[in-house]
């Protein structure tokens, strides 16, 4: 049944439907609505889980690590500085192979304080061993969260479900919220592969000397390597039950495209419209939606770009000293591929700045007119008159 809900609450509904047993979070805008709703569900008795109101994100992640080690299905949510504070424990969760699911609402990092949309926070955690899935709208947020538990528990790796601040988290849309029985069909009760048990005592996450550390790291990567297959299997089931699927990447009108726009998050929706408009004008343009960032779906990407000559990547994030992060990853993924389209890197929409259809069109035009990409990322929409020193 469709209900008009906030993007945040779409996540909360999915967590409820997943019958999460232990949750822990610390409030931070724009994530707060997710955990407020969860607290409410617990208070109402709609959910049997335990919500631990910790005193920091660091503790929130520690608490769900503790709970997951105890064999519980766990969830947490955060954003920006909260995620940065968790950083140490993101490594801990993945190396302990704990299937924690976290909703991460993309928000800019200070200073200056900025609570608005920016992808740098989640992308900066790309080396922590977490699976990262980016969402475009409210339905996708709910579906992805539910899927995330299946994926996490089959891969024994934690999953980060990423949502744009406000554009998604605070936007109301009609969302089909499944009933519990249907959700249960998709996501059975958690059967932990690792858990502490007084009947079979062991130590978890103990010191790993040089003689074994590398092998343990290798197995995390081996786990990551399985994720595309596990994801596809899970999505097949999801489609059987719910009639929807999203893929790790989505290629929109890319079949004969000469230029493909690539990005993640809500800007995809805007771009879809721009692509349609450009197609109407006869431009051979396509759109690549990046849903899975970790593990990076290199093979799929290579197949989907087809015969396009140029890929124009819109990054709402930035890696100082190098450039847009999605652009780097795409460029690296295509380098040894059969075809090497030029990868154009554009930066826009940082810190909550709107990514308008005009900006997207400008990106397309600049990519079409240039023979080669600039060495550095091109910043689109900079206003030199802002904040004079």
């Amino acid at each position: 049944m469709k209900e008009v809900v906030e993007g945040s609450h779409a996540v909360s509904e999915a967590v409820r439907l997943a019958r999460v047993q232990v949750m822990s979070a610390y409030p931070i805008t724009p994530q707060t609505h997710i955990v407020e709703a969860l607290s409410e569900y617990c208070a109402q008795g709609r959910m049997a889980g335990r919500f631990i109101c910790v005193e920091s994100e660091h503790s929130a992640m520690a608490a769900v690590i503790g709970a997951a080690s105890g064999g519980a299905r766990t969830f947490t949510a955060t954003s920006s500085h909260g995620l940065a504070l968790m950083h140490e424990l993101l490594h801990w969760a993945s190396a302990a192979r704990l299937p924690i699911v976290m909703a991460e609402v993309n928000r800019a990092l200070g200073p200056g304080w900025n609570i608005w949309m920016d992808q740098t926070d989640s992308l900066a955690q790309r080396d922590t061993g977490w699976i990262q899935l980016y969402c475009e709208d409210g339905q996708e947020a709910l579906d992805t969260t539910l899927l995330a538990f299946r994926l996490a528990e089959s891969a024994d790796l934690p999953v980060m479900v990423v949502l744009d601040a406000f554009f998604l988290s605070h936007t109301y849309e009609p969302v089909d919220i499944p009933d519990q029985a249907t959700a249960d069909r998709f996501l059975p009760a958690y059967r932990p592969r690792i858990q502490l048990d007084t009947r079979e005592p062991c130590a978890l996450s103990q010191m790993a000397p040089p003689g074994c550390y590398m092998e343990m790291r290798y197995d995390i990567q081996a786990g990551m390597r399985r994720v595309p297959d596990l994801y596809t299997t899970a999505e097949n089931d999801f489609e059987d039950i719910f009639g929807r699927r999203y893929g790790m990447l989505e290629a929109y009108r890319c079949e004969d495209a000469e230029i493909i726009l690539a990005m993640a998050g809500t800007a995809v929706s805007t771009s879809r419209q721009v692509v349609d408009d450009l197609r109407d004008r006869g431009e051979k343009v396509g759109l690549l939606k990046i849903r899975m960032f970790r593990p990076f779906p290199t093979d799929l990407l290579r197949r989907l770009v087809g015969n396009a000559q140029k890929i124009a990547v819109l990054d709402r994030n930035f890696c100082f000293g190098l450039g847009g992060i999605f652009a780097q990853e795409i460029r690296a993924a295509l380098y040894h591929g059969e075809r090497q389209p030029s990868v154009f890197s554009y930066i826009s929409g940082l810190g909550g700045r709107d990514v308008t259809p005009e900006i997207i069109e400008e990106i397309y035009r600049r990519s079409k007119s240039a023979d080669h990409p600039e060495i550095e990322s091109v910043w689109v929409g900079l206003d030199p008159g802002i904040c004079p020193v």
């Binding site: 190396a95 024994d156 059975p188 592969r193 978890l204 103990q206 092998e215 197995d219 299997t233």
Partner: protein
């Protein structure tokens, strides 16, 4: 539904998770010092003339294991009830507990255990020393020994020789056995019941006692026909004479004590002087005052020089007996019904006697006169037969600390002289020690010959003292004990809180003067347990379990007894330091 978690989990997953214990690490290789259980010797047991295992006895009493405590005493001394009363308890003088507050009431505890055994008719255990071979000894080595004198030395010799598998006949001149215990020590110090019970226990072991049968020279000459050896422990039954004018008016103190024990003395009232400074003098004086006689002890030296045990002197003075020091009788005259005692006043000099006391000399011509109804002498005693004395040092004489071995010149029969005839200190307990030593000497003589005796005896010493242990002689568990004496500084006093020594009920001086009631009472079981737990149990393990409890390596385990797993022990030494009683030692690891 294609979701199958089992299929999904086919990939092995190496994570940092334990699957074995740390016991694979043999951390014992870190060690450069090695702890070990090393039971040592308590100062009390070394000071005890019979070498009783006092630390262990008190441990057992403290644990309420009274029969076991009694059996432990019996290994070294057949007379707990007697010695608990009459011993001068040198053990308490060296008790380490005395350095903290006051010594453990060792003699009270011994008496408590001894009395309890009599009251409850504890059976003498067998085998006795935990020595499996003990049962076989009788058949293989049984010899027959004649013992002259049924006093503490003779009875002790009989007891230990019987224990060692030999048969003993004890001969005594008197009408009942006991010697000095029966005739020389007054009732108020040693009730007859206690003595009789401990003697009958020896008789029950199979010792034959023949009374009114003094060992004569003729008997000795013919003894070789019936016996393999003779022990002479006849004591000093004959009082020394004063040798002054009017000396025949003096009554024999020893005889007097003997008569009282026989119930033959009815004298009462009047005044008396007792000449002498030994235990007999004090006993005579105390007996007199109980019969209503106003008594003064006259002694030629000072109180501090008196050979009598200090606690007995103190008790006598408390009862109202007066002491006249530095006064030597020179003559005794009749004065109607009374006697006039003329006393030469003495003074001390800078010189010392051979015994380490101050030499006294007459203080010019100064004399004093003492008028009394009776005079008793207790200036010392000697054997009643001159041949009871052991021969002087000669090549064929073997002198040990408490006994002298010689062969009868005519028959070659081994003769052991013991008890007061040879003991360095004339105490009941030294007499018992003498009997024990005689038993060891004869047993060794029978088994190994005379030459082996000194070494065997030396092996049986308790700590550094002269005391000998029969348990060690018989290779009991005590044999493994380190002879090193535990000093006070080796005690971990953190485990002991100051506590007053328990004092048993004692008759007041006034009550004492009315009758021959026993002066000192005994401990109740509760008091005994409390007092025994004051004991540090120096040098012996009392199962406090500190070593095992504190071991950071979990390297000490129980396998019947405590064992150290040297695979893991890192040699930190906590167990040794936290042993409250120095029953462990840390030694450098031999690489």
């Amino acid at each position: 539904m294609t979701y199958d978690p089992e299929i999904m989990k086919e990939t092995p997953m190496r994570i940092s998770r334990s699957n074995i214990s740390t016991e694979i690490n043999k951390t014992g290789s870190w060690r450069f010092v090695r702890p070990g259980y090393d039971e040592k010797t308590a100062p009390c047991s070394s000071a005890c003339p019979v070498g009783e295992d006092i630390a262990r006895i008190e441990m057992l009493v403290g644990q309420g294991m009274f029969p076991a405590a009694w059996e432990t005493i019996l290994r070294e001394n057949p007379f707990p009830a007697v010695c608990g009363r009459v011993c001068f308890h040198p053990c308490e003088r060296v008790c380490n507990r005395g350095r903290m507050d006051s010594p453990v009431g060792i003699h009270h505890l011994e008496r408590f255990v001894g009395d309890l055994a009599i009251e409850n008719a504890y059976a003498v255990p067998h085998p006795f020393y935990g020595d499996e071979a003990e049962a076989d000894r009788r058949a293989i080595h049984g010899k027959k020994i004649a013992i002259a004198g049924a006093g503490p030395a003779g009875l002790s010799a009989a007891y230990f020789l019987t224990r060692l598998g030999h048969a003993c006949d004890v001969f005594d001149a008197d009408s009942e056995p006991g010697g000095v215990l029966r005739w020389g020590i007054p009732w108020y110090r040693l009730p007859e019941d206690a003595l009789k019970a401990e003697i009958s226990r020896i008789v029950d072991m199979g010792v034959n006692i023949y009374c009114r049968k003094p060992v004569t020279a003729e008997f000795l000459a013919g003894a070789a026909a019936s016996y393999d050896a003779v022990f002479l422990g006849c004591g000093h039954g004959h009082s020394l004479q004063m040798g002054i004018p009017g000396g025949e008016k003096v009554q024999d103190g020893l005889r007097y004590l003997h008569d009282i024990r026989r119930g033959e003395n009815t004298c009462s009232g009047g005044t008396a002087a007792v000449i002498g400074g030994g235990n007999t003098a004090v006993d005579v004086a105390q007996s007199l005052i109980r019969l209503g006689v106003d008594t003064v002890i006259v002694y030629r030296r000072r109180r501090r020089d008196m050979p009598a045990f200090d606690h007995e002197i103190r008790m006598a003075l408390a009862e109202g007996i007066r002491l006249m020091e530095l006064a030597a009788p020179v003559r005794i005259d009749n004065d109607g019904d009374r006697l006039t005692l003329t006393l030469q006043e003495m003074r001390i000099t800078d010189m010392e006697t051979a015994g380490g006391r101050c030499r006294v000399v007459p203080d010019g011509e100064r004399t004093r006169i003492l008028k009394v109804d009776q005079v008793y002498s207790a200036i010392g005693a000697e054997p009643s037969e001159s041949w009871y004395r052991p021969p002087e040092q000669r090549p064929d004489v073997l002198r040990m600390s408490h006994c002298t071995l010689w062969a009868h010149p005519a028959s070659g029969l081994p003769l052991v002289f013991g008890g007061d005839l040879t003991a360095p200190v004339r105490s009941v307990t030294d007499a018992v020690a003498s009997g024990k030593q005689a038993a060891m000497m004869l047993d060794t003589l029978f088994r190994e010959g005379k030459a082996g005796i000194p070494e065997r005896i030396a092996q049986c010493r308790v700590g550094d003292g002269p005391a000998l242990s029969m348990e060690i002689y018989l290779s009991g568990s005590r044999k493994s004990r380190n002879p090193a004496i535990v000093p006070y500084t080796a005690i971990n006093t953190d485990y002991f809180t100051p506590a007053d020594r328990a004092v048993p009920p004692t008759l007041s001086p006034l009550e004492r003067r009315t009758a021959f009631e026993e002066v000192e009472g005994g401990y109740s079981p509760e008091t005994a347990v409390r007092e025994a737990t004051r004991c540090f149990n120096c040098g012996i393990c009392n199962d406090c379990d500190n070593c095992r409890l504190y071991c950071p390596e979990v390297a000490i385990y129980m396998d019947g007894t405590r064992c150290i797993n040297l695979d893991y022990c890192k040699g930190c030494g906590i167990c040794v330091v936290e042993c409250p009683r120095n029953a462990m030692t840390l030694e450098e690891e031999q690489s």
